[in-house]
């Protein structure tokens, strides 16, 4: 009888311990990943900004050749290594201070550090589809408010050489296997691109991975870093989140 009591008691303690550990995991996932990711991403933004201002004049003499009038963002954004941050995304709708690093790749560790760029899709500002993924919840949730974006909202991509401004056109909600949303012509796989688009993908609904909320934006303007970005593109729209 005493042995039975000990066995039942121990099983109870083990179950309670597992329950507490599960609650701890939920707290870590929903709260702590935001704390650490927000801190790391803020540091990454500072590092990127410092790098951009230091290297604003391309050290590579070949980069300055060719037609001087047309900014060529591709020139400085070739062969970005997997996992490396190469741009900053700013979205006035998400608040005046909203800035997140954009990194090459969309695997789990990369998306924990900011917005991920789908490998093989176009780089910002060029013809094709600059396709990105971001967390809707947890890990700093860069695309938490993706459903608040409205037609005409500006998405500003800051690179070493340029400010690239996209304007939101439309959105769709799809299951995760709809790869045509990141096709060179969004939703038209196989078509030859003639325009520059940007795709943003995030989980939908919040706290679920059942669907993807997908926003398509079209290239509006490209500004050189030297010329600067007109303030109107960073104006916070009425009813913005931040």
């Amino acid at each position: 009888m005493k042995a039975l009591r000990w066995v039942v008691g121990t099983i109870g303690e083990v179950l309670i311990t597992l329950g507490v550990l599960l609650l701890l995991f939920v707290a870590w996932q929903l709260w702590w990943t935001d704390v650490t990711a927000n801190r790391e991403q803020a540091v990454a933004i500072q590092t990127l900004e410092r790098g951009f201002t230091h290297d604003s004049i391309p050290p590579d003499p070949t980069a300055t050749q060719g037609p001087a009038a047309t900014p060529d963002p591709l020139a400085t954004l070739k062969n970005v290594p997997f996992g490396e941050a190469f741009a900053i995304v700013r979205i006035p709708r998400f608040g005046a201070g909203y800035a997140r690093p954009v990194l090459q790749g969309t695997d789990h560790p990369t998306l924990g550090k900011g917005v991920g760029h789908y490998v093989g899709t176009a780089m910002p500002g060029v013809v094709g589809n600059f396709a990105t993924a971001g967390h809707r919840t947890t890990y700093g949730k860069p695309y938490a408010d993706i459903d608040k974006l409205r037609t005409g909202d500006f998405i500003v991509i800051e690179t070493k050489s340029n400010y690239i401004v996209y304007a939101v056109q439309r959105h769709v909600i799809v299951t995760p296997d709809h790869v045509e949303v990141i096709a060179p012509v969004p939703q038209h796989p196989g078509a030859t691109p003639t325009e520059a688009w940007m795709t943003m993908t995030a989980c939908n609904p919040k706290f679920s991975a059942q669907q993807r909320y997908v926003v398509f934006s079209k290239l509006m303007r490209i500004f050189t870093r030297a010329g600067g970005l007109p303030a109107s593109f960073m104006a916070v729209p009425p009813g913005a989140v931040g």
Binding site: L21, Q29, V174, D177, T201
Partner: protein, 64 residues
């Protein structure tokens, strides 16, 4: 399992209680810094990209 642990801890009751708290805090730190980050990628709700076929961290599985 906690009974023997309590008896194993040295000192009187307040000392035992304090040591238990420190041990519990140690477990939380261990989980937050190493255990949870290691198991998080295995959770189905952490897949949030568009990809063809079964979910995989291999970027080559994604369509153009």
């Amino acid at each position: 399992m906690y009974g023997p642990l309590w008896r194993l801890l040295p000192g009187r009751r307040p000392v035992k209680a304090l040591l238990s708290l420190i041990l519990a805090a140690g477990v939380v730190v261990l989980c937050f810094l190493w255990v949870f980050p290691a198991i998080a990628p295995l959770m189905p709700f952490n897949d949030n990209t568009i990809q063809s076929g079964s979910p995989s961290s291999d970027p080559t599985t994604m369509a153009p």
